[in-house]
């Protein structure tokens, strides 16, 4: 009670109340009374803190009203017109435009280090297919829904493994070459036998592409045999001496193969 009166910085009521409490405490002999006294002290100290705050803010010269006015100005308030609408607000006149807070919104993010919200580009997983009218339609839609759900997952995985796919292929081919060589150490494979896929031209080209990586990295080499036909064999994994890799002649060969020849 009388909190406002006590807060008034001009009043001494807080001090008077404290003095009175002191006097009363001498007469206290019951625990309950002591508890009341303690409660009073808590309230009194809170009020004291508030009074101190009021003092402080007067000296720091921060004027909330002026700050508010400045904010309104910033947001584009038009002070020449007086708002004559049915909301009779008793605030100083001025028309606050509807994009006022948008203006503030343009300025505000510059002061925050806010993590941008994350959204899937391909849409969320929970895409319930719309309830169809006929059974047949429902089945079709259900399977499509699943495909869509699988797609975001797949697409993400592909993104990541795009790089790796090529490497994996290259490794696979190297292993095939090495296995063949383990079985038959002295017969290099005919290059064409190795890369050509009788069933698919595109696949053949892919194979040649992967083999070219092996050559580039020095993991395999191509030589010409007696018949002047290219053969391919894996290089022995002898120490990675720099001289050795430079000794291997690096030749560039352009192989052109078109579909007719392939056939």
């Amino acid at each position: 009670e009388n909190r406002e009166a006590m807060l008034n910085s001009k009043s001494n009521r807080l001090t008077e109340a404290l003095e009175e409490a002191n006097k009363l405490f001498d007469g206290v002999c019951r625990a309950r009374e002591a508890a009341l006294d303690a409660q009073f002290l808590v309230i009194a100290s809170n009020i004291g803190k508030e009074k101190a705050n009021e003092l402080h803010s007067e000296m720091s010269a921060f004027d909330s009203t002026a700050f508010a006015e400045d904010l309104l100005t910033f947001m584009g308030i038009n002070r020449t017109e007086v708002e004559e609408t049915d909301d009779s607000e008793d605030v100083p006149g001025g028309f606050l435009p509807s994009d006022a807070w948008q203006t503030m919104g343009e300025e505000a993010p510059k002061y925050f280090r806010r993590a941008p919200t994350f959204h899937y580009m391909m849409g969320s997983f929970k895409s319930e297919p719309p309830v169809p009218k006929q059974r047949i339609e429902r089945q079709k839609k259900a399977s499509r829904g699943k495909a869509e759900r699988a797609m975001p997952a797949q697409l993400k995985k592909m993104e990541e493994s795009h790089q790796e796919a090529t490497e994996k292929e290259v490794e696979r081919i190297l292993r095939i070459l090495q296995t063949h060589f383990e079985n038959d150490p002295n017969t290099p494979i005919s290059f064409f036998d190795f890369v050509i896929d009788p069933n698919s031209f595109a696949h053949t080209v892919e194979n040649m592409f992967h083999v070219s990586f092996l050559i580039r990295d020095g993991l395999a080499k191509i030589k010409l045999d007696e018949d002047e036909l290219p053969i391919i064999e894996p290089t022995k994994p002898s120490g990675r001496g720099e001289e050795e890799s430079r000794a291997g002649a690096r030749n560039q060969v352009v192989i052109s193969l078109d579909q007719k020849e392939w056939k």
């Binding site: 402080h56 909330s64 509807s98 806010r114």
Partner: protein
Amino acid sequence: QVSELVQFLLVKDQKKIPIKRADMLKNVIREYKDAYSEIVNRAGRTLQEVFGLQLVEIDTKRHTYILINNLPRAEGNYLCRNKEKEKMGLLLVILSFIFMKGNSVKDSALWEFLNLLRVYPGKPHRVFGDVRKLVTEEFVRQKYLEITPIPLTDPPEFKYQWGPRAEKETSKKDVLNFVAKVRPFWGHLWV
């Protein structure tokens, strides 16, 4: 596991509500509990290196985390959603007020100030709707503001302070820059 956790954190962060360790354990880590701290560390590194986001523990007792942006601020618009930006505008205004008033204000003082800006707790706002709910619930849940009751007040009064997310996402210096920008010649009056 790490990439699962990274995705989990990114999605959970959409609402800007802090992420609890318990949730992380339950939904992502499950059987790998022993490797928990290692997984979290690696996830943090991924977030930093790939997305430029920092995973910060804001409550070491209850183990809650938030994501903040670790990249230097870029010029130009990057948050396209207007609603979010407007809310941030209101938040910035509130944070500035609290700061200028000595880091803690009574609710009555805050609402008195907001009234001057034509924002009223009882009246649905054209832009913000239920402002009281936005300020006392949403901003508090996101840890931008902290509201504590003042003891033994009747009717109960509350004091408003900066929440842990506000402390991490912005700084007193930044907010002071804002105040100075709005009122150009105040900056020199006090430190």
